[in-house]
């Protein structure tokens, strides 16, 4: 006789694959906007990242003698590569995406034991590795040339850009964060530096220099709200991260507006929006409890602003995420939900005086 199966004898219609697919669905609008904004090279880069992730994941799982199909079908490798691609300069050469994707899957995930075991966010670990190893390629930004405009490269030119590394110079530009960092470093005042580079309305629409998928602020926000509605994530992490960036930015801006940009600038520039809704909400590397997520988000936000304001790099989301990933076990240890019938410190409630 086969032993009885334990309750429950019903299950919510969810699987790991469905969770990943929902996140990809939420990412799709911002990604498509990125494709439109940066044209064919962006699409090619994204494809290279995804294909590399699938191939390297299949290879490593095969080396471990585990069934390849279920591990690929859960979509976690795809999602990692997708997020990495969104955080790359859109016209970066193909090998940036390939090396990064392979690093994310093999070193940052499978080496730790595969899905659910990794300590650091694979996409961010790969981005940081790329940024440190290949700083030139990783900071080679381009002006947005929407795919529908005449200036956009056609598919043939795009293949050259991505796979032969040609045609970048004509479109080269600087990211806002990089521009501001450089100019402030030269001892300039913030006002004139920002005067023609900072257009909040355009930034809100996503029409700015930046990584492949980090610019469409409104679309990212919509995707994030969709995930909150579908109960894939809670509001605590994203809200805390935005708060963690905006609050110190506000204080510093009020004290010294000539040296520190305003909070809106910090929220809309760089990868803060993408980070808040799609990066720090990676379940594996973030805390368990809603208030743990809040603390985590706050920490990421704060560190991001600190790195931007006082650090050597113009952007700090990836570094901040990795630093807070390391703090996740500590947060989990101290921010547990209160247990029914116990106080916050775990002591049982006293019985009624009879």
């Amino acid at each position: 006789m086969t032993p009885a199966i334990h309750a429950p004898h019903a299950h919510a219609p969810v699987t790991v694959g469905r969770v990943m697919a929902t996140v990809m669905l939420a990412l799709a609008p911002a990604t498509l906007f990125g494709f439109w904004l940066h044209g064919w090279p962006a699409i090619l880069l994204w494809l290279v990242a995804l294909v590399t992730a699938l191939a390297t994941e299949a290879l490593t799982i095969r080396l471990q003698d585990r069934p390849v199909k279920p591990a690929l079908m859960d979509g976690s490798g795809l999602l990692t590569a997708w997020l990495l691609a969104l955080s790359l300069p859109p016209w970066a050469p193909w090998w940036i995406a390939a090396v990064g994707s392979a690093f994310a899957v093999v070193v940052a995930k499978q080496v730790f034991g595969g899905l659910g075991q990794n300590v650091f966010n694979p996409a961010m670990a790969a981005r940081v590795m790329l940024l440190i190893s290949f700083p030139v390629e990783m900071t080679a930004w381009v002006r947005p040339v929407p795919i529908t405009s005449g200036a956009a490269p056609d598919l043939a030119q795009s293949l050259d850009i991505t796979f032969a590394g040609q045609g970048l110079d004509a479109m080269a530009s600087a990211s806002l964060l990089g521009h501001v960092k450089t100019e402030l470093g030269r001892g300039l005042e913030l006002g004139p530096v920002l005067a023609n580079a900072y257009q909040p309305d355009l930034m809100l629409m996503g029409n700015r220099v930046g990584s492949l998928g980090e610019t469409g602020a409104i679309l990212i926000l919509l995707g994030g709200l969709f995930l909150i509605l579908r109960r894939i994530i809670t509001w605590h992490g994203p809200a805390a991260m935005l708060l963690g960036v905006a609050l110190p930015a506000l204080v510093a801006w009020l004290i010294a507006p000539q040296a520190y940009p305003d909070p809106l600038y910090h929220l809309l520039a760089g990868g803060v929006m993408l980070g808040a809704f799609f990066i720090i909400t990676d379940p594996v590397t973030s805390p368990n409890s809603p208030w743990g997520m809040f603390a985590f988000g706050l920490g990421v936000g704060l560190l991001t602003w600190i790195i931007r304001a006082w650090g050597g790099y113009p952007e700090g989301v990836a570094f901040a995420v990795l630093l807070m990933n390391a703090a996740t076990p500590v947060i989990d240890r101290y921010l547990k939900p209160r247990i029914y019938g116990r106080d916050r410190r775990g002591r049982p409630h006293p019985a009624r005086e009879a």
Binding site: P3, H6, G113, G114, L115, G116, Q117
Partner: protein
């Protein structure tokens, strides 16, 4: 140069004094480990470990003279617990899965020789000369002494029967582990 030498010497002296002071002040009297280990052992004094009773075995274990798997009645659980306590590696390969056992007297073979209940360290066998002996389940530790001494092989160890009261869910298969 002189200053560096002096400061390092002073540092070494003061730290040494501190350590010496701590060693005296925080000295632990006796070895509480032996008592703790004795509490973990079955306590039936069956002697299968080769030491004089469980206290002797505890002493030997604490001094590292006995292996953590020296106690057959304790089973794999005890081996694991002892290994954790003593901070050593436990080799569980030689130990059978710890199914709790109990002695049983097969009535058709028992000749009532009284040998078994004389050797039982916990008085778990009841009977009298020329009468069939029975095992008092609550007291039996499955040490096996009665099995060794039985002239007709009437006593044997059998797994404790599972009842609705003692049954519980098995550990789930860990096939989903990555």
């Amino acid at each position: 140069m002189i200053a560096a030498l002096l400061s390092l010497t002073a540092l070494g002296l003061s730290l040494g004094l501190l350590l010496g002071f701590a060693a005296r002040k925080l000295k632990v009297e006796g070895n509480p480990l032996v008592a703790e280990i004795e509490q973990m052992l079955p306590g039936s004094q069956c002697g299968q470990c080769g030491f004089p009773g469980c206290a002797g075995a505890a002493q030997a274990l604490a001094e590292g003279k006995a292996a953590v798997d020296c106690c057959p009645p304790g089973g794999a659980d005890l081996v694991q617990a002892l290994a954790a306590k003593l901070g050593v590696e436990a080799d569980l390969s030689g130990i059978k899965a710890s199914v709790p056992m109990i002695a049983e007297v097969q009535e058709h073979l028992c000749i009532g020789c009284t040998k078994c209940f004389k050797v039982c360290p916990t008085d778990a066998i009841m009977g009298a000369a020329k009468q069939i002996h029975t095992v008092f389940r609550e007291a039996c530790t499955a040490c096996g002494k009665c099995v060794e001494c039985c002239p007709t092989e009437a006593t044997r160890l059998t797994p404790v029967p599972v009842t609705l009261q003692s049954w519980y869910w098995h550990k789930p298969e860990a096939g989903w582990v990555a």
